[in-house]
């Protein structure tokens, strides 16, 4: 009974693979295509943080008093994927769309990998995990 349940739950289950593939395809379409139709306005937090300040065309604060006044540059601003684009690709749609696709695949890969590593394994690890988790 237990063995059967485990076998059914394994990732080799073709129905689960189909579900994952379908979900991933939806995520890729949203990040790769639909994201280009997203609103370009600052989000709720950003808009509130800029309230009271004046900004130039590039969004840099030029004066006034607001939450974001002391904002500093991002440490990763030179990342090739910075600001949801790909450095070197001039077409804005291609750049944003591809960066979204890369982001979805990286998040899936990293998430799956990390969760797979910490997952509960079979009975033997189960017992050690319970013992360690009792503290």
């Amino acid at each position: 009974m237990k063995g059967r349940a485990v076998r059914r739950a394994s990732s080799s289950n073709p129905r689960l693979v189909w579900f994952l593939a379908g979900g991933l395809l939806v995520a890729l379409l949203l990040a790769g295509v639909v994201s280009n139709f997203a609103s370009g306005s600052p989000d709720g937090l950003d808009a509130t943080a800029l309230k009271g300040c004046t900004t130039d065309a590039e969004g840099n604060i030029t004066g006034g008093t607001c939450i974001a006044q002391q904002e500093q540059e991002h440490q990763m601003k030179d990342s090739p994927l910075a600001d949801y684009g790909i450095a070197g690709i001039d077409n804005p749609y291609l750049s944003a769309g591809l960066s979204g696709v890369i982001g979805v695949l990286l998040t899936f890969g990293l998430g799956y990998g990390l969760f797979w590593l910490v997952r509960r394994r079979g009975q033997r690890t189960d017992r050690t995990a319970t013992g360690a988790g009792e503290a």
Binding site: L16, G23, A38, T48, Q72, H74, V104, G111, R119
Partner: protein, 238 residues
């Protein structure tokens, strides 16, 4: 796409308070890993990867809520319903860490602030509301959709107030706290409604296609096959 920053940036909250919240976030995530292990099996691990990837994708979809102001999904409630509170908080954190390190969104110094608000606070509030609401609402795709909507709206507003607390403790500017709290709560009510609609559509779809993959339904379902699920016409266990 002009929206290039969606989370708290560097320098808005001072280094000491940012550091304090980095420790709080790390501690909370450690608890999530320990408790989440009990939920994570061979089937939930890939599902959690998908939930994280889906949240990353939907966070790119800023929707207009007021003139000149947009909003995007935070994802805590959605994640809690699909993969549970512990793994759910880890999913949102994975997204925030990738956005910070690779996409330069959400300051590195502010990562603890962002994880505390969106991954820890947002998911915790969302899950508590889901657990409460599913005691009274039917455990059908429709009932789950209503649950996701209500829990999302409240969870998003509370997550926004997490920032108010952090700003109160260590904001680098001295602006009226009540004005900020009110402004953020107001705009995040609209953002929460948008998030609620997305979360409701998503969980209702998964509940129709694969109810066995919805953590909140497994958790609150009677050990025997639930009549509610049978009535919904789902045969996911075949």
């Amino acid at each position: 796409m002009d929206v290039v920053a969606m989370h708290i940036a560097n320098g808005i909250v001072n280094a000491q308070v940012s550091g304090m919240f980095a420790v709080i976030a790390a501690f909370a995530l450690a608890i999530c890993v320990m408790r989440g292990r009990a939920d994570l099996n061979d089937r939930l691990a890939p599902m959690a990867g998908l939930v994280a990837a889906f949240i990353f994708a939907v966070q790119m979809l800023n929707f207009q809520v007021l003139p000149g102001v947009s909003g995007h999904l935070l994802g805590g409630t959605l994640a809690a319903i699909l993969v549970g509170p512990w793994v759910g908080a880890l999913c949102v954190s994975t997204v925030l860490i990738i956005q910070c390190l690779l996409f330069a969104d959400g300051g590195l110094t502010a990562l603890g602030l962002n994880i505390t608000n969106m991954a820890v606070l947002g998911t915790a509030v969302g899950y508590l509301l889901v657990a409460g609401l599913l005691r009274v609402l039917p455990k059908t795709p429709g009932g789950l959709a209503v649950t996701a909507f209500v829990a999302s709206v409240i969870s998003v507003v509370i997550a926004s107030q997490g920032f108010v607390l952090q700003y109160w403790l260590g904001g680098t500017t001295q602006l009226s706290l009540s004005t900020i709290a009110g402004a953020l709560a107001g705009v995040h009510t609209f953002i929460g409604i948008g998030e609620g609609l997305i979360a409701a559509t998503t969980v209702a779809t998964v509940a129709r296609v694969r109810p066995d993959l919805v953590y909140a339904l497994r958790r609150f379902r009677a050990p025997a096959a639930s009549p509610a699920m049978a009535a919904a016409g789902v045969g996911g266990t075949a």
